[in-house]
Amino acid sequence: MKELVFLAFVACLLTIVPTQITLAETTSIDVKEELQSLGLRSTTEIMSAIETGFLQGRLAPDEMVSLLSNLAAYNGEREDKETILITIARALKDDSLPVTMLIGKVEEGLARKVSLQAIKQMVSERASLLAEVRDLLYTNLIFTSSEYGQENCLVLPLPRFDFLVTQIADTLANYQESGRSPLEGYLVYQEMHTRLSMLERNAIIPAEDVELVLERIKPENLTRILSNVLSQQQQ
């Protein structure tokens, strides 16, 4: 009987261990190889940003390998692919922004088989929105770094801050894509209120973060952000 139990244990180990090893195999080397296969001119700049993202915990090798391999397999101009990756890389390294939403939109666009031009435009708009929202939180004393030692300021851990920025920027982007007027500040605010409340109700976001944002951010702030992004696009 003991022998049988031992054999069953060994069989389980033999089944589980290789699976775990295979799952944990994707590394930055794989990401680099995928990137090089695209044959872009800015490979070094993009790879440097990706490694920063890995260090900050804002990116995972698996998600980058998936993005790069899907882009490589997609039919389109190399320049467009490069522009998309550079936009993500600069948002990540130069502007220190969370880029999960941008990667998700590229993957969605590729799956929908839309043109690289459309994906490029959407990534660019959303990167601008992320930067504007991050700045809005800063001006309302919501930070992610302890170096801002002012009174009344809230310092959030990076994942919580990134999540907040991403959710607000995504709400604004969805509002803009629905074709409604950016001047209707109350409606934009209402959209943000609904999104954050749903996240709070499902305990995905802490209630204090939601209360803080709803208390400090005003409808006119959101109108200004949308107008800024709109004027950037027109330029």
Partner: protein
């Protein structure tokens, strides 16, 4: 001898009299039966059943047999109706599948059910932000045209769409909300924490 003659005469006379008045007797029996039946109280279906069961109380085995046969008849009747009437069949299938899904959602934290009615479709898949928009196939094992899959997902907000024979369908009736994306629609579902908050 004289007495015999007298008796015969009497019998003949009586027979003549009876023959003369016979038409009064025609149908008299039927009239009496009809009158008596009309006077009896009418028995309803409930009383009939009660009487039937009262008779059967003598034999428990017979009672059980009747109940069993009745159940089997109703079962076959139900199957027959649900198979013959498409609306009833469809409604019950969706309801049944959603019921099962609700049970799964309650028992397994983070299980999200995706249901897509697509009769006659060859392939139905769900794509979404939960796995970089890679298709996950739905199944229709009972061939009733309702495709489904149950995905274990960590808490979060997920955008998704169905792909039915290559066509995107972004407006799932079970979604919490909808958003515009790349000129189309995406459905949105929230998966909540049931335990500790973040």
């Amino acid at each position: 001898m004289h007495e015999d003659k007298l008796e015969k005469l009497l019998r003949d006379t009586l027979q003549q009299e009876v023959s003369k008045e016979r038409h009064y007797l025609d149908g008299l029996e039927k009239e009496i039966v009809a009158e008596l039946t009309g006077q009896l109280p009418k028995r309803g279906w409930l009383q009939t059943l009660t009487r039937l069961f009262a008779q059967m109380q003598r034999s428990r085995r017979r009672q059980l047999a009747v109940i069993g046969i009745t159940a089997v008849i109703f079962l076959f009747l139900g199957i027959f109706v649900s198979e013959r009437v498409p609306l009833v069949h469809g409604l019950f299938s969706v309801y049944d599948k959603q019921q099962k899904a609700t049970i799964a959602t309650n028992s397994d934290e983070g299980q999200l059910l995706f249901v897509m009615p697509a009769p006659g479709a060859q392939t139905v898949a769900v794509v979404g932000s939960f796995n970089n928009w890679k298709p996950i196939l739905l199944t229709d094992e009972d061939k009733d045209g309702i495709w489904l899959t149950n995905l274990p997902l960590p808490p979060g907000r997920y955008e998704y769409a169905f792909v039915v024979d290559g066509r995107w369908w972004g407006q799932d009736p079970l979604a919490d909300e909808y958003v515009r994306s790349f000129g189309g629609y995406n459905s949105v579902r929230y998966v909540g924490y049931t335990g500790d908050k973040i």
